[in-house]
Amino acid sequence: MTTEGMIEVEGVWKSYDEGRIEVLKGVALSVVAGETTALVGTSGCGKSTLLNVIAGLEIPEKGVVRVTGQLVKDEVTRRELLRNTIGFVFQLHHLVADLSLEENLLVPSIAVGMSARAAKDRVAELAAITGLEGRLKRRVRELSGGERQRGALCRALMNRPSVLLADEPTGALDESNREAVFDLLMGLVRDQGLTLVMATHDAELASRCDRVLRMRDGRFVDS
């Protein structure tokens, strides 16, 4: 893996409602390996859409996206990137409420066909790092908001990705949990050498990233 060009976005256009709502207007971005990047801007400026496009969850009308040098253009590449390279954390934890935390964390391991032993070990490792060891057998509905978001972070890291995309990862948490979860996230990113692209409204949290990119009306306005 090269240290440069971990994520390359060139001239990406994305619109909704049959082109009536343009969300990304020729966006270009380059993120090197291990770099932490914050995308800031008002709601609707295109931060989340850009993250979705990088992850291959949305397909742009124009432009090119590369992650670890792989062109994100077809279903197979998108799937393989989500399996092995990209972890995604959302504002809402999106854990399955009826499953235990452990079962939720095991979901990504099913996609890649990880052995049961390896998957259990990985869950235990992540739970230890995030302080969730005693919560693994609990149903998600029995966990606090902070624990759920930490669980979502563990799930995103389950298959050892090299890129972490985070869309307002602390946006749904109270102040104390926000700090704790963000500290944990940044600690994991630094310890594991992950490349982070994070969308946030929080200028203070954004300032702790290597780079802050401001978006307005589907474009970067400064950096």
Binding site: N52, A55, L57, E58, E75, R79, E80, L82, R83, N84, F88, F90, H94, V96, D98, L99, E103, L106, V107, P108, S109, I110, A111, V112, A116, A119, R155, M158, N159
Partner: protein, 370 residues
């Protein structure tokens, strides 16, 4: 955790939905097995009536129902003269009325017909049943509803007949019927000189083909079939069996709709969950496979529940006093395999739309789904 474990976990955490889906399939399976089992049993009972000690049955060609078959009685003696025939017995089938019973099956047989000798006599004796006489033998249930015993007189049709005895037969039709001397039966139904069928027992070392060839040559209006051939070709049996499978198939369609409904509900209530699976790297095939897997498990649960339900239901029906002897359910492995295959096909068919819909979900859109 494997995909299968996830499938079972999904079904477990939506127990009510799972139970409703499986119940739909179970009712389809139970209906099919019950109807097929009951009609199959009825066919087998009728086969037993024909079979007695014989391997073959001769009747009028192309007849839609054996009640309408007319076989000249002289054929019996002709057959008995053949080297390959051990015995030939005429049977005249008819429907007769009794007080408060509009339909009683009547079997016109000769005294030499082995079935009465082999029967368990509850009263009277086989010696009272003669070819020249008018005394009839009642099946146990017939005697019961006619409230008659040996030595009594019973009203059958327009005539009164003495009762030679009462026999207990295994077969419900025979147990609820009346055995009448062939000649008296022919007179009562204006079928002098005819029987409905002639059953033929072969001498050891001889083949059914010899009887067939002889009948083809001497009596083109008649046909001779081995018992198994008869069961397969007799139109009434075909109609019964087809009806059973059609009724069962309709039940399965309803079961299939139940599975479809359950799986659609399951997919639409888990839109965001399915989107997260895609974000976690699940392929479209894995998502569709999970939905198909859930549907398959529902179907298998339905098959097992339906099988238990039908076995229990048939057993209860068999034990009901009013139906004793008439219900001889026959559910073999073919019927079970047929019903199970249909249930699995129903499961696949029912999951098709939900699975395709789930696989086609766009994760980003689905995560915004309210």
């Amino acid at each position: 955790m494997s995909l299968w474990r996830l499938i079972f976990t999904n079904l477990r955490r939506h127990r009510v939905r799972t139970a409703i889906g499986a119940t739909g399939v179970a009712l389809g399976v139970a209906t099919m097995l019950s109807v097929v089992g009951l009609l199959g049993g009825a066919v087998k009972m009728f086969e037993k009536i024909l079979r007695s000690d014989a391997e073959m049955v001769v009747f009028e060609k192309n007849v839609s129902d054996l009640f309408f078959s007319n076989v000249p009685i002289d054929l019996v003696d002709e057959l008995k003269e053949q080297d390959f025939v051990k015995d030939a017995q005429p049977v005249l089938f008819a429907i007769i009325t009794a007080p408060d019973r509009p339909v009683v099956t009547c079997f016109g047989v000769r005294a030499s017909d082995g079935r009465l000798e082999k029967a368990e006599w509850l009263s009277g004796g086989v010696e009272n049943f003669t070819d020249e006489g008018r005394a009839v033998v009642l099946g146990e249930r017939a005697a019961d509803f006619m409230q008659a015993k040996a030595g009594d007189e019973v009203e059958l049709g327009q005539e009164s007949y003495p009762v030679a005895g009462v026999v207990q037969m295994e077969n419900g039709f025979e147990n609820g019927g009346v055995f009448m001397p062939l000649a008296a039966c022919q007179t009562a139904f204006h079928k002098e000189g005819f029987s409905s069928v002639v059953t033929v027992a072969l001498k050891k070392g001889h083949e059914p083909s010899e009887v067939k060839a002889w009948i083809n040559e001497k009596h083109q209006r008649l046909t001779a079939l081995e018992n198994e051939e008869f069961s397969k070709s007799y139109s009434q049996f075909k109609i019964l069996k087809t009806t059973a499978w059609v009724v069962g198939g309709c039940a399965f369609l309803l079961g299939g709709l139940s599975v479809t409904n359950t799986m659609i509900l399951s997919v639409f209530s888990r839109i965001r969950e399915l989107a997260i699976l895609r974000v976690c790297g699940f392929s479209k095939g894995q998502v569709a496979g999970m939905i198909f897997g859930e549907s398959m498990v529902l179907s298998i649960l339905g098959v097992l529940a339906g099988w238990l339900l039908s076995m229990g239901g048939l057993r209860i029906l068999k034990m009901l006093p009013a139906l004793q002897g008439y219900i001889e359910p026959s559910v073999g492995w073919q019927e079970f395999a047929g019903a199970a295959s249909l249930a699995l096909l129903t499961g696949i068919g029912g999951a098709l739309y939900p699975a395709v819909h789930a696989a086609k979900l766009k994760p980003a859109e689905a995560l915004r789904f309210e």
